[in-house]
Amino acid sequence: MDFRDPIHGFIPVRPLERKIIDSRPFQRLRHIKQLSLTNLVYHGAEHTRFGHSIGVMHLVTRAFKAVVTNKDLFSEEQKEWYEQILRLMALTHDLGHAPFSHGSEAVFPDSLVHEDYTDNIIMNTEIADYIREIGQEFVTKYGEEYNITPELICSIYRGRNISNPDFIFLRKFLDSELDCDKMDYLLRDSYYCGVNYGRYDLERLISTLTVYKEENNKNLYLAIEKGGLYAFEEFVLARYFMFIQVYFHRTRRFLDKILVEFLKKNLPDGKYPEDIDEYLSWNDNVVWRLIKDSQDKDEYANRLMNRRIMKCVYESPTHSEYNDRRIFNLIKNELEEKFGKDNFIYDSADKLAHKIPLKHTIDSEQDIPEQAIPIILDHTKTPGTISTESGVIKNMTEPINIWRIYAKEEMAVRAKNLVNDIFNKMSS
């Protein structure tokens, strides 16, 4: 059957995959917004992890087919098996997200990350049975070595499977600088936010995906043909713009910040439960109910319910350096001295524009080329690097690093004036 998707059109879903989609843990994703509270800034951002998960499954299938078709990399059985593994990894990769996706991860129990919950859900709920059913189909068709188990899906996705180096390659489709997770969320988030920042030429990017095989051993790298370099540059730039314009938007950051403060005070022990059944009962709606019920006694709940945003009285440069943090600290100290600590909220948001090593040799003695994207050239067997092939990406070396200070409304004007005075003094 097909699922109609606003980004990719009709997405074919296989009958046993449909069982996963219809399961309680997967249906929960309908109630977890992809972009946390961004809908309070860009009102269209109502989309959820549900559509994204199906979208990534679709893209990973397209990308894998584009890479392996007409190449002598794998047998037909392997191709079918790897494709199914990738589809299941993609479909299940976000099952462990907390309410409001990344927005409330700060209240996970110590040392847990959402991927730990994902593993637990895949291995210990009905999802496990449906994956085993798919595995049994492969066993019947091709033999025991083509089994697919929940443990296999988790171990490949988390990069812990040591039984087959091809699995390292498969993981690149879902976790690399050229992965289908990013490909989907950039287009999806742009569409729903009503912005163009995250758009890029998906068709060109996928059609120029390829593989680089090291001569001396069997290692496979997800690579791009030289002809796709400009689509790839567009893709990297799209992500950069989305971080600056949407994901790190000042109001969205403020809302996420107070959501976390609210949850710390109002969740049992200030954390989400570790128990997987209890955890699965949490979604955005449950948290909103808690917020609504607390709005008369909790300032953060009241701010969230009524969209009362504290004023941003200072924002550092987008690519602030550590001297900018000195300035931030100076402003922070002066504001607190004059108006008191409780009137301010501080935020810092950072992200690398990309993680691709600029210069690398694939088998480097000193460096780690794990994040390298080989660029396949016509005239030589040696792949190109970002340093030699892309002036745009080569120069995107400064990380996004934004520091902000928010002040309560009643002193926002005076606080802003103080910030202006500090800058005037510094420039005179």
Binding site: D110, N216, N219, E321, R326, S364
Partner: protein, 176 residues
């Protein structure tokens, strides 16, 4: 856990022995964590052994905070601590506990001077052994050698893998 704060003294000590590249630092921090000094990084297997994207990002965060510089020299990314140590040097650096310190010093003494190539095979061998154990599979000498060869192909000789197993046994990482 203050991951960044705990990482600073570790990088400083490693830097006294050599100017580490990213690869060397990854492998040494892996060995330090395996000794029980928890820094909270999650390692996955890559073609060049265990690798933590979280640790890689932590190094970049320390650069943003002025604690270190990542210099691109030739084909490598070399990590060098800044002279003034950045803003978090004084207040936010977290020293290792009395129990952790001797374990850490032992790793530095035994491994910090080794080449990235040697550290790659040692950490890969250890990672393979740990995964075999975690999966409930046989993790004797031969299974470990076989497991390393699956990941590494012909990059390392049988002797080199056996040498790595011997080092790991001697230093208390492996009990076969």
């Amino acid at each position: 856990m203050n991951k960044l704060g705990r990482l600073i003294p570790i990088i400083r000590e490693i830097s006294r022995v050599q100017k580490p590249g990213k690869k060397t630092l990854q492998k040494l921090v892996y060995l330090i964590e395996r000794k029980g000094i928890k820094l909270g990084f999650d390692y996955s297997i890559h073609y060049y052994g265990p690798y933590s994207s979280g640790l890689d990002y932590a190094i970049h965060r320390l650069e943003m905070q002025g604690v270190l510089k990542i210099n691109t020299e030739g084909m490598t990314h070399q990590i060098v601590l800044t002279e003034d140590g950045g803003l978090i040097w004084e207040g936010e650096e977290e020293t290792l506990s009395g129990e952790e310190l001797p374990l850490f010093e032992d790793v530095i003494a035994k491994f910090a001077a080794k080449s990235a190539y040697d550290l790659e095979i040692i950490t890969t061998t250890d990672y393979v052994a740990q995964q075999l154990k975690a999966n409930g599979e046989s993790w004797d000498h031969d299974s470990i050698v076989k497991g390393v060869k699956k990941i590494k192909g012909d990059k390392f000789t049988q002797e080199k893998i056996e040498e790595a197993i011997a080092i790991l046994q001697k230093e208390g990482y492996l009990e076969l």
